[in-house]
């Protein structure tokens, strides 16, 4: 099964050379620490693909990922916060920052802005990975 996933699958294309994102960073982290253990990388990729969105995003198990009618929940529903709301919060935080004059308050809200921006980035990356995972599943379809 590992070979099936690996054959015909371009890891570089999958990760994306320009922005490796969460997925790629995880693989890179593993390779940095285990440079000779390529099989484990394939295992890791397989594990990540099989656990990809929406389960991975919400940290829930597969059973929990099913909605009321057995349909997978969207990432937004599962995570407790939607992408639009995140974008709105980021905008509000940035607007609020502009009103601050106190150095400590500015430092504080800058950290929150960073957290919100990273979370938003994760949403977008997960959506991208979801498409890539779907493509991968198509090319390696199995019963």
């Amino acid at each position: 099964m590992i070979e099936n996933v690996y054959n015909g699958f371009d890891l570089g294309e999958f990760i994306g050379a320009d922005n490796m994102g969460v997925f790629g960073m995880s693989i890179k982290h593993w390779l940095d620490n285990n440079p000779d253990d390529k099989k484990s990388v394939v295992d890791l990729v397989e594990q990540l693909v099989s656990n990809i969105n929406p389960d991975l995003l919400a940290g829930a198990d597969r059973k929990q990922s099913l909605g009321k009618y057995g349909e997978p929940k969207t990432p937004d529903e599962m995570s407790g916060i939607g992408r639009n709301r995140l974008a709105e919060l980021l905008g509000s935080a940035q607007a609020l920052r502009a009103t601050f004059t106190d150095k400590d308050r500015i430092e504080s809200i800058d950290k929150l802005i960073t957290a919100l921006a990273l979370t938003l980035e994760a949403f977008d990356m997960t959506a991208m990975f979801d498409k890539r995972a779907a493509s991968l599943q198509f090319r390696n379809l199995r019963p």
Partner: protein, 143 residues
């Protein structure tokens, strides 16, 4: 603008489920090995609500995993103060004491975790039980 002492979370109307949603993304980064991004998200959450034991515990855990024990300590102590019934905070705190070689403090914190787990079902408390046994072995060997 007059000084407003409300937390950023309250000022921006970030609800508890929304906060948990952001926390899950931080946890996802952590699980995928991107500790730096996890740290930034949890730091933002602490800034948004310094009274959140969850955010403090999560940030403390990430910092411990990055071997930044001194930075983790105040967050874990605060988490215990904010939510004295939270088992994970005591175990995380003990991990710092162990790494600092302060075994009596570690045992005290681990014992608190065990005391809170009446049913013996908490994985964090079970780790505490194992750690207490190991520490006692070390103390016996060195005394």
């Amino acid at each position: 603008m007059s000084k407003d002492n409300r937390s950023l979370e309250s000022f921006l109307n970030i609800s508890y489920p929304e906060s948990c949603g952001i926390g899950r993304i931080g946890t996802m980064f952590y699980q995928l090995g991107n500790k730096r991004k996890a740290q930034e998200i949890f730091e933002g959450m602490v800034e948004a609500n310094p009274e959140s034991a969850d955010a403090r515990t999560a940030l403390g855990a990430v910092l411990v995993s990055m071997n930044r024990h001194q930075n983790a300590l105040p967050h874990l102590l605060k988490a215990v103060e904010l939510q004295p019934e939270k088992i994970a905070s005591y175990v995380n705190l003990a991990e710092v004491y162990i790494r600092q070689g302060d075994l009596p403090k570690a045992v005290k914190s681990l014992s608190e975790a065990v005391k809170l787990d009446q049913t013996g079902t908490s994985s964090a408390a079970n780790r505490a039980r194992v750690l207490i046994l190991e520490i006692n072995k070390i103390i016996r060997l060195t005394s």
